[in-house]
């Protein structure tokens, strides 16, 4: 990702350079005059590096931007022999060198010939603000916006003039707004007049997010008179809106937690809810799904890195098939001997879950396996003052899609019809020519397969380790039972209810107590409705 961004930046800069290239010779000279400044980076500790970055930024020449970007990413090295600084990228055993100013290739170097120029957080911060001021005039509005955001965070009074120029030239409204906000932040941090600061407070007040709040609180606590009053009013206003948004955020978090619970529980709603098998190995089916995702990504990483963004889509059917096949195997090998003895399925599947955990541990090792997030599962976007992370959002959609798909299969396909027939009246179904053993095996396979695809989704937010399944099994049973055994809608509503309740309790009670309260709530709720949320009524209950 950062590679992509730096590439965009480089292209943007090249465009700037070309656009400004009316006097190429002079530019060339300018560029070369920067070289000593850049090579100076090879020497010195963090404190000195910080100064050197300041010097580079002070030139105001965008040509130094790629070098700074590389420094921030840890790609800037110097050659030990002559202390020349290069942008590097891995190439075989050594590094490919790029000239930091001309961006032309400068040959290769072995691992031991070059040395990295170290950076730490505070340096990265300095670089970010330096880059911000340097790229305010870039051609790509995206780069300009990012630059303005960086300047906003830096709150550097020296950037005000640059911002003024940039704002005057800016054609894109969105970018200009960000620039104005950045200017306001810088003004508040400067020793400009209170009048100007009051305007700045106004700008930030309408910005209305946490960043603005953070700045305004600073102003409120350090100023006097009108300015303080204005800041205080703005702070109050923002806090009020944020409090409202907090509720929306809690609901969102609750739905997100609920969707995770739903994914974890929905396979169990079939194997346990519909078939009555107390399936303690359910969690392991989820775990196997996650490991399938790991395997798929491993293959992709080694042989087709370009497909990485599609890895989850490839993993989904595979996880379904692998977990489903294992499920069918379990049903044929073990469960089918135990129908009519539901409690013994508990014993057998518990044994099975131990075996599966150990098998995965022996095969893949006990440590966490890395399952990466594709680009579209990473990061977040904002709705108003609410942060929505992509992975959570996709998981909510995915959980609902799985639920809908499953409903469709059970209600609209012959297989679903047979399944319902068999679970309701096995003998009758058999006498009508339905091959009940196959339906049993396939239903169990379906439940396990769905657990497998849940594993694909959970691999995106949790550890992929042999313990993955154990973390979800109890919650899954709670959800199915709370919703009402045998009712898929109950599972959906149950999962979402528990998720939202949990997330509303958490800010007040803390994560631990919140969870305890949810459990107590389940216990009490079952007293009120001994057969769950969506209980079957009437004579059917006795059947």
């Amino acid at each position: 990702m950062s590679l992509l961004r730096s590439l965009a930046l480089v292209i943007g800069l090249l465009v700037v350079a070309l656009g400004a290239g009316s006097v190429p010779a002079a530019a060339q000279n300018d560029t070369e005059s920067l070289r000593p400044l850049i090579n100076a980076l090879a020497d010195g500790k963090y404190k000195e590096t910080e100064k050197q970055i300041g010097d580079l930024a002070a030139t105001g020449n965008p040509v130094v931007a790629p070098a700074l970007e590389a420094l921030s990413d840890g790609d800037l090295y110097f050659r030990k022999s002559d202390k020349q600084v290069f942008i590097t990228s891995k190439s075989g055993e050594g590094y490919a060198l790029t000239d930091p100013l001309t961006l032309e290739s400068a040959g290769e170097a072995g691992k031991r010939e070059v040395s990295k120029i170290k950076v730490n957080n505070s340096l990265r911060r300095v670089i970010r603000s330096a880059l911000g001021s340097l790229t305010l005039m870039a051609a790509d509005p995206k780069v300009r916006k990012e630059a303005a955001e960086a300047v906003f965070k830096a709150k550097d009074p020296d950037a005000i003039e640059g911002l003024d120029t940039a704002i005057a030239k800016e054609t894109n409204d969105e970018v200009r707004l960000v620039m104005e906000q950045a200017r306001a932040a810088a003004v508040l941090n400067s020793d400009r007049s209170d009048g100007e600061k009051l305007e700045a407070v106004e700008v930030l007040s309408s910005m209305g997010n946490r960043d603005a709040l953070s700045l305004l609180i600073g102003v409120r606590d350090s100023s006097t008179g009108d300015l303080q009053a204005a800041a205080a009013t703005a702070v109050k206003r923002i806090e009020k809106t944020l409090a409202l948004w907090d509720n929306a955020q809690n609901i969102w978090y609750g739905l997100s937690l609920g969707s995770v619970l739903l994914l974890a529980a929905i396979g169990l709603a079939i194997t346990f809810g519909v078939m009555g098998v107390i399936n303690m190995a359910h969690g392991e089916m989820v775990m196997i799904g996650a490991y399938v995702t790991f395997m798929v990504q491993e293959v992709i990483r080694n042989s087709a890195p370009g497909l990485f963004d599609y890895s989850l889509l490839i993993a989904l059917p595979l996880a379904f098939l692998v977990s489903g096949a294992i499920g069918v195997g379990i049903e044929r090998g073990i469960i089918r001997w135990l129908y009519g003895r539901p409690l013994e399925t508990l014993l057998a599947t518990w044994g099975l879950s131990l075996i599966l955990q150990q098998a995965v541990r022996s095969l893949f090792g006990p440590t966490n396996r890395e399952v990466g997030n594709p680009d579209w599962m990473s990061g977040a976007f904002e709705i108003g003052q609410m942060t929505v992370t992509y992975n959570r959002m996709w998981i909510i959609f995915f959980a609902l899609a799985v639920f809908a798909g499953l409903m469709l299969v059970l209600k609209k396909t012959p297989f679903g019809l047979y399944t319902r027939a068999v679970t309701q009246n096995r003998r009758m179904a058999a006498s009508m020519g339905i091959r009940t053993p196959w339906i049993d095996a396939l239903t169990f396979g379906l439940g396990s397969g769905i657990a497998g695809i849940a594993g694909v989704a959970l691999s995106q937010i949790d550890n992929v380790s042999p313990n993955l399944g154990q973390g979800y099994i109890i919650d899954s049973f709670m959800v199915v039972v709370f919703g009402g055994v045998g009712n898929l809608w109950g599972t959906l509503v149950g999962a979402m209810t528990l998720g939202v309740v949990n997330k509303f309790l958490e800010p007040y009670a803390g994560a631990v107590l919140g969870k305890i309260f949810v459990l107590v709530f389940i216990i009490l709720f079952i007293q009120k409705r001994p057969r769950g949320l969506f209980a079957l009524k009437g004579r059917a209950v006795e059947a």
Binding site: P366, T367, N368, E370, T387, D462
Partner: protein
């Protein structure tokens, strides 16, 4: 009746098993390895078992110890704390091991403590812990709070100008104590009560949305904010994933962790986490010959070039070498002799210096602060100029500020009260 027969057969089987250990060969020196290979802690502890096997293997290649081969006895306490005590007893009483290397969680150590005391054996404990303990039979090769937490906070204060602190941890004794110490320390440094937020989560917590957004909110009060994380192993991956996704950058709100090492990062895409920090006494990236050799040996032993090394492995490396040296010095594996011989032993560590065993059974270590890199390694950005001796009793806790520990004669006391001049805590 059959039941009777079953019962008798069972008893017989049991007895035969119990005794079998006693007849084992006597021409080896046995070393017990007490790390969970299954259950929740297997994820961290299995690596240490392998590291120990490697160290023992290497020592045997060098000709063993006192002319005998070393023999590893591996048991699986299965992340079940009472089972740790049972297995420790089995190792010492049945297998007659000379020393035990093991435990990870505080509770497992607490569980085996009385056993080691009763049967007078030796335990090497390789993990950073909360301190407040010094036992004659235990040697603490991991970091005490003053070797990890306090330097990390100092670093953040001085180099990053942090003024507002989130102390986030898993709700158990190590984070609780560490945070207590840090809270006292921060207040002593003039940090106001409202600038400290303390948050605890259950083990294996996986839904971090609320807490991360709380941290974000806490961080928007106009002061530079940092998170000090004592979140336990397993919960870290989802925590960091959430941090990355919610866009908390190290440049804005750095997170410094005490339980996140190379092993934990191996399960993560560290791209979005670059710049977050960890405080340890060893990083795999340490640029020394001893470390390069250690890593090569490890890769050869485990037959996987991608496996990382981490701080507790180094602690076992140091502890094992100390034990070897002490046994050679004492000329016997007799626990009393070895315990006495251990104090003062100094062996090279992997970061280019020497670590020595202190009279309080803690060791001297350098403290390193590292930043997470995109390749899953840490880059040392700061380190103590010298070695820091482990302090068993924190100076920042009321109950323990007067206590010291010195197991040398004549004091020979783990909780000597300097105020009252008596051994046995602060009360009597």
């Amino acid at each position: 009746m059959k039941t009777k027969l079953t019962g008798l057969a069972l008893a017989g089987l049991m007895a035969s098993n119990m005794f079998s250990g006693a007849y084992a060969a006597d021409d080896t020196i046995k070393v017990g390895i007490l790390h969970s290979l299954s259950g929740t802690m297997a994820i961290s502890e299995t690596t240490l078992k392998d590291a120990m096997l490697m160290l023992i293997d290497e020592q045997n290649k060098k000709g063993g110890l006192l002319g005998k081969k070393l023999e590893a006895v591996v048991v699986d306490p299965a992340s079940d704390w009472p089972l740790f005590a049972e297995k420790a007893r089995e190792l010492i009483e049945v297998d007659k091991v000379s020393a035990v290397f093991g435990c990870w969680t505080s509770v497992s150590r607490k569980s085996v403590l009385p056993v080691f005391e009763e049967l007078n054996s030796i335990l090497f404990y390789p993990v950073q812990y909360e301190g407040e303990e010094s036992q004659r039979n235990v040697f603490y090769t991991g970091a005490a709070p003053n070797q990890q937490a306090i330097p990390a906070v100092d670093y953040l204060m001085e180099n990053e100008g942090v003024e507002r602190w989130v102390l986030a941890g898993t709700d158990y004794v190590y984070p609780r104590t560490t945070n207590k110490i840090l809270e006292a320390y921060l207040k002593a440094k003039g940090v106001a009560e409202e600038d400290i937020m303390i948050n605890y989560t259950p083990f294996g917590h996986s839904d971090w949305q609320t807490i991360v957004s709380d941290i974000k909110a806490f961080g928007s009060a106009g002061k530079k904010t940092a998170v000090v994380s004592t979140i336990n192993g397993d919960a870290n991956v989802p925590f960091y994933k959430e941090l990355g996704n919610q866009g908390i950058k190290a440049e804005d709100i750095p997170v410094v962790a005490f339980s996140v090492g190379e092993e934990e990062l191996a399960g993560l895409d560290t791209g979005p986490l670059v710049g977050h920090l960890a405080a340890w006494n060893y990083f795999e990236s340490a640029d020394t010959d001893a470390n390069a050799q250690f890593i090569d040996t490890w890769h050869a032993f485990i037959k996987d070039d991608k496996r990382v090394t981490n701080d507790p492995m180094e602690a076992h490396y140091i502890g094992f070498n100390m034990w070897v040296k002490a046994v050679e010095k004492a000329g016997t594996t007799d626990p009393d002799a070895v315990i006495d011989a251990l104090v003062g032993v100094s062996v090279p560590n992997l970061t280019g210096g020497y670590s020595a065993m202190m009279p309080n059974h803690h060791i001297t270590k350098p403290v390193l602060i590292g930043e997470i890199q995109a390749d899953g390694q840490f880059e040392t950005v700061w380190e103590t100029s010298g070695l820091v001796p482990g302090d068993a009793w924190s100076d920042y806790l009321e109950g323990s500020k007067d206590l010291i520990s010195d197991w040398r004669a004549p004091l020979s006391c783990g909780n000597f009260n300097t105020a009252t001049g008596k051994c046995g805590g602060s009360g009597s």
